[in-house]
Amino acid sequence: MKKLYSFIYFICFSLLLGACIDAVNLPIRDESGKLVVEGLISNAPPPYTIILSTSVTYESGSVVARLPNPLSGVSVAVLDDMGNREVFKETINGQYKNTANGMRGQVGRSYQLEVIMPDGRKFVSIAEKLMAVSPIDSVTSEYSKVLKGHSFYVNTHDPRGERNYYRWTTYGIGSLQVSPVSNPSPASCSPFCWQYIENKTLNLLSDEFIDGNQIQKQKVFFAPYVSQSDFYLEVNQSSISKDAFRYLQLLEDQRNRTGSIFDPPPASILGNIYNANDSKEIALGYFIVSGVSRKRIIIKRTGLSDRLPMPIPLAFVGKCCDVYFGTSQAIPPWRD
């Protein structure tokens, strides 16, 4: 409940107290070193990626940024219910991929992950069925003068009589108009600098209170209006299992915790991967099986006033585009 957060802020601000939130440093309980799995198989074309790592110590107030600890040298394979088994090869440290012409997810088939650790422990996932997902009817956008940007919405139809769980992943591409004036090193500047923006929140929906109805105006993205260039948006609408939905929902809830009276007690979030010889040992993370439908749109952004100022460069050296972590490479043809 983010809302309560605002209420508490209201109480604080209304009394002119300033912030009521302080950083604290607490003793550490260290139980790191657990297997973490992030995997996804869908009916979109391969390759698919399985990311393995181990959990690390939570060290509040640490001045050293602690990065995930990738797990190398593990045997990773995906199995389907037809007896097929495909080994995923480690491409970069901790990332395991199949090939572009390898196994592709099919609606109605079940998939299972198998991970054999260097110490011999074998982890498997609970087999999940790849469910079809309805196509995206349309993606619409609305410009808000208050927020100074475009909100994007998905419109679709939910099939009646079955439980459906949705997840939307969205990214957008907009061009920053890098002029020699705003550019620290004009010599190496191309007129286009494409910036990729990802929607970082887990966008989830259950059809429990919707079943068979339309799903309209499901917000999937917000693009701040910083440039008059066209804006490219890709929306992926995925079906996920009930357990995956619950898992991701709990992850999202954890990120939304604000310490308010509305917070539920913290608890471990159990995924679908467990030790084949000891079902009490449950790995962190989830192996998701999804049906995907995709929609791409382009919107024009001319003729609007109230443009936001150019963002402050994130780096101060490098080429024109690098300072914004963008790319001057052309966008591929934008089709569904």
Binding site: N25, L26, S32, Y58, R66, L67
Partner: protein, 801 residues
């Protein structure tokens, strides 16, 4: 009287509860024996009233000087005492009033009515050198707190609103999870285990503004008693405590009023006779304007929050004869809280009580009560295509009757029956035309709870008194509603449903019942000391479904059903009470132990709202609580106050036959409100004739929390793993509050006023309410949230006419 007992008898036979019957007959017999004994004694029955307002005075001390015997007036201002026939000099006193002495003729049974005048000035009040009450030592009751309503406004509070539940939290054994949280915890019990009665009607919500204030206007309150243990047999239905709030009756002689203006709210009360000395009315209302505070906030994001609340109390009293008193009391409280985002909460409590008290003689009284209490919460969402309105309601209807037989000092017997009808609407989801959402209704729950009780207080020896009673309660969950049947050998989930049974209207799904014995013993151990022991069992058939740290507006209540068994608690308490300085200094030590079964707990990641299969997300837990409470109270001299220290634990365990359902491997772990050490000091000191300074200091161990085990990366974001629950604690809580009170009275003595300057959290302590965790750019950081993290000054102006 015979009729009543034969009815009881029928009920016992019907329920086949031999023990209860034996008990009732024992009481019956004792009554008969006691009645036969007195011959040369007479009974003096009296009513003590306020001279000006004619309202009954509770807790007045009536002292017969010749025989050194005394009595205390009850909640209606009455006392009864058995004395040898003769003439007496009696003195009557109560804190805040003068002492009056009077000669009375008690050669035969006598009825007297006496009036005391109120002393307005604080200074006089503290200088009264009357004989102190020794009720704390002599009464058989233990674990009971009587709130000093007259001094309530002097307690420093945040935002300047006098608050009865906040004041209770300054007593031992009463605690809270944190500032701004609704509800209170008594001796390791949950917030839903308190029976809060407003003129006998239970309140299901006790908060305004999401928990910052109590929703009962203190101006309208006559008395507040909290039973932490040794709960009288008359009360039942909740495990941990009974908070009995009685509202004032109107002045039946002249029109008078009172009110107050504060930074956050204004209050007004008016009382007037309808028929002089026979019928009166009292109306009290409180409205708030927190929106003014919001509007001065410059931040646009938060400046659009809208909050408002009000509450109204009204009471009609009618005394058709000297022996009858009829009361009609009603109450309404409403809150709206609209967030700048798209959600609004509205919650409303309302109740109405009709009560008829009749005295057959100076020894036999009866009371018949009919009441209704409603609670309603509406959460509305306002987002295009996702608009909704979610409502949940409780309706509680109750009829009860009791008789009290009080023939002598040595016996006080009481018996009664009650029936409650519950209708609960767990959730109704309404949506407008064109919405993505589909309207939904979770089926209503209906239940009836019946109880019969009897209790007798006997003086066995001059130094030993016994209070023996029991309550038999019986509950049925009735249709119409569907019931899901789950496979026996699997954890209950939606997938293990094997069948659905539709129960017809009035058909019983499941019944539960049992005895609730209540026993107290008091031994007088010295001139002003006593030892008290008590045991009581309580049962609870209605449960609050809330998986949040504190009570939240979206929480709802649920009745016991085939899956949710009633909660049962057994409490054992022992206490030693000693007064010094002619009862001016009261000391006590009490210790208790409690066993609780069938507490409602939640599976990891349970979804509570709009869940048709809620039983699949719930788990039964067991609890235990124990503690020691020390209190030292100084009632004389200029400096008055209290020191209370409590050591207590509140533990819970979730043990399931299915490994994945157990929490912390089935071991006992601290509950969300377990705070072992708790120290509270309150003090009051008159600075001059008009100025008084008052202060509180509170210290409490931090509430339990869970620290992270480790963190991990998923989908490019950082998450934290918590494998255990409540294994750690947030930092300790401490706070000092001070208030300055200026009281004045006009020359005409018709108008009195006071101004209170309150300073909450004087030394700017940022007490943590909770700890939460973040990770920014790979750096871990824990944060603490302080709700009232600074000094909060406020002022209130009160008046009386």
């Amino acid at each position: 009287m015979k009729l009543h007992f034969s009815k009881l008898l029928l009920i016992c036979l019907a329920k086949d509860t031999l023990l209860l019957c034996v008990l009732i007959f024992t009481i019956f017999q004792t009554i008969a024996v006691a009645t036969a004994q007195d011959g040369k004694l007479v009974r003096v029955r009296g009513e003590i009233l306020d001279e000006r307002t004619r309202k009954p005075l509770v807790g007045a001390n009536v002292y017969f000087e010749e025989i050194r015997k005394g009595a205390i007036t009850d909640a209606d201002g009455f006392f009864t005492l058995q004395v040898p026939a003769g003439k007496y000099n009696i003195s009557i006193s109560i804190v805040g009033y003068g002492v009056i002495k009077q000669e009375i003729d008690a050669t035969n049974d006598a009825n007297i009515s006496l009036k005391l005048s109120e002393k307005i000035k604080v200074l006089e009040e503290v200088e009264i050198t009357e004989k102190r009450t020794d009720e704390n030592v002599k009464a058989i009751e233990m674990s009971k707190i009587q709130l000093d309503i007259r001094n309530l406004i002097k307690i420093p509070v945040a935002f300047g609103e006098a608050d009865i539940i906040r004041a209770m939290m300054l007593q031992t054994g009463v605690s809270t999870v944190g500032e701004g949280a609704g509800g209170f915890n008594v001796r390791g019990g949950r917030t839903d285990q308190n029976l809060v009665l407003l003129d006998e009607a239970p309140l299901f919500g006790t908060s305004h503004l999401l928990g910052f204030f109590t929703n009962v206007n203190p101006d309208a309150v006559q008395s507040v008693s909290l039973y932490k243990g040794g709960i009288p047999a008359q009360y039942g239905g909740r495990l941990s405590s009974v908070l009995a709030i009685r509202t004032r009756s109107g002045n039946d002689t002249i029109v008078s009023g009172a009110g107050g203006v504060g930074l956050m709210a204004s209050r007004f009360l008016i009382e007037a006779p309808i028929i002089k000395h026979k019928a009166s009315i009292l109306v009290a209302a409180r409205v708030t304007y927190p929106n003014y505070l919001i509007s001065i906030v410059q931040n646009p994001t938060y400046g659009n929050s809208k909050a408002s609340f009000y509450d109204i109390n009204a009471k009609l009293e009618f005394k058709p004869t000297i022996k009858d008193r009829i009361i009609l009391s009603s109450y309404l409280s409403r809150d709206v809280f609209r967030l700048p985002t798209d959600t609004a909460f509205a919650w409303q409590s309302s109740s109405a009580t009709f009560q008829w008290n009749h005295s057959f003689s100076s020894a036999l009284f009866s009371s018949v009560t009919a009441l209704v209490s409603d609670y309603k919460i509406v959460v509305s969402g306002n987002r295009d295509k996702f608009d909704y309105e979610l409502t949940n309601t409780i309706n509680h209807k109750e009829v009860k009757a009791n008789i009290i037989y009080n023939p002598s000092e040595k016996l006080n017997a009481e018996a009664g029956v009650s029936t409650i009808w519950y209708t609960l609407n767990p959730a109704t989801l309404k949506v407008p035309e064109g919405s993505n959402l589909i309207a939904l209704k979770i089926p209503n729950e209906q239940g009836r709870e019946m109880a019969v009780y009897a209790n007798a207080e006997l003086q066995l020896l001059p130094s030993v008194s016994l209070s023996l009673g029991t309550r038999y309660s019986f509950f049925q969950n009735v249709g119409a509603r569907p019931l899901y049947v789950y496979a026996d050998n699997l954890p209950r989930t939606v997938l293990s449903i094997t069948d659905t049974i539709q129960y017809a209207k009035g058909e019983v799904l499941k019944g539960y019942g049992g005895l609730e014995p209540r026993i107290s013993l008091r031994f007088i151990t010295g001139k002003s000391s006593s030892l008290k022991v008590s045991y009581n069992r309580t049962r609870q058939y209605i449960h609050l479904i809330s998986n949040t740290t504190a009570i939240a507006p979206a929480d709802y209540w649920k009745l016991s059903d085939p899956y949710i068994k009633p909660q049962v608690s057994d409490q054992y308490a022992i206490g030693y009470f000693q007064n010094f300085k002619d009862n001016g200094l009261e000391a006590s030590i009490e210790t208790y132990y409690k066993d609780i079964s069938n507490i409602v707990e939640y599976k990891n990641g349970a979804r509570l709202l709009l869940n048709k299969n809620i039983e699949a997300d719930l788990l039964p837990a067991i609890g235990k609580a124990y503690g020691v409470e020390f209190t030292l109270k100084k009632n004389y001299g200029k400096l008055q106050g209290q020191i209370g220290y409590t050591y207590s634990r509140s533990l819970i365990a979730v043990q399931s036959t299915f490994d994945q359902e157990s929490i912390n491997n089935g071991a006992f772990f601290p509950s969300n409100f377990d705070r072992p050490h708790n120290l509270i000091i309150t003090a009051r000191y008159p600075l001059s004739k008009k100025w008084t300074i008052s202060g509180n200091f509170t210290y409490a161990t931090g509430v339990p929390t869970t620290l992270p085990d480790s963190r991990y990366q998923f989908s490019n974001k950082t998450y934290i793993n918590f494998s255990l629950r409540n294994t750690d604690r947030i930092p300790d809580y401490h706070r000092l509050d001070i208030s300055l009170i200026y009281e004045s009275k006009s020359v005409s003595k018709k108008y009195a006023s006071s101004v209170i300057f309150s300073f909450y959290n004087v030394y700017f302590r940022r007490n943590p309410f909770s700890i939460f965790y973040g990770n920014r750019y790979g750096y871990d950081q824990a944060y603490k949230l302080s709700i009232l993290g600074t000094l909060i000054p406020s002022f209130t102006y009160n008046f009386k006419f």
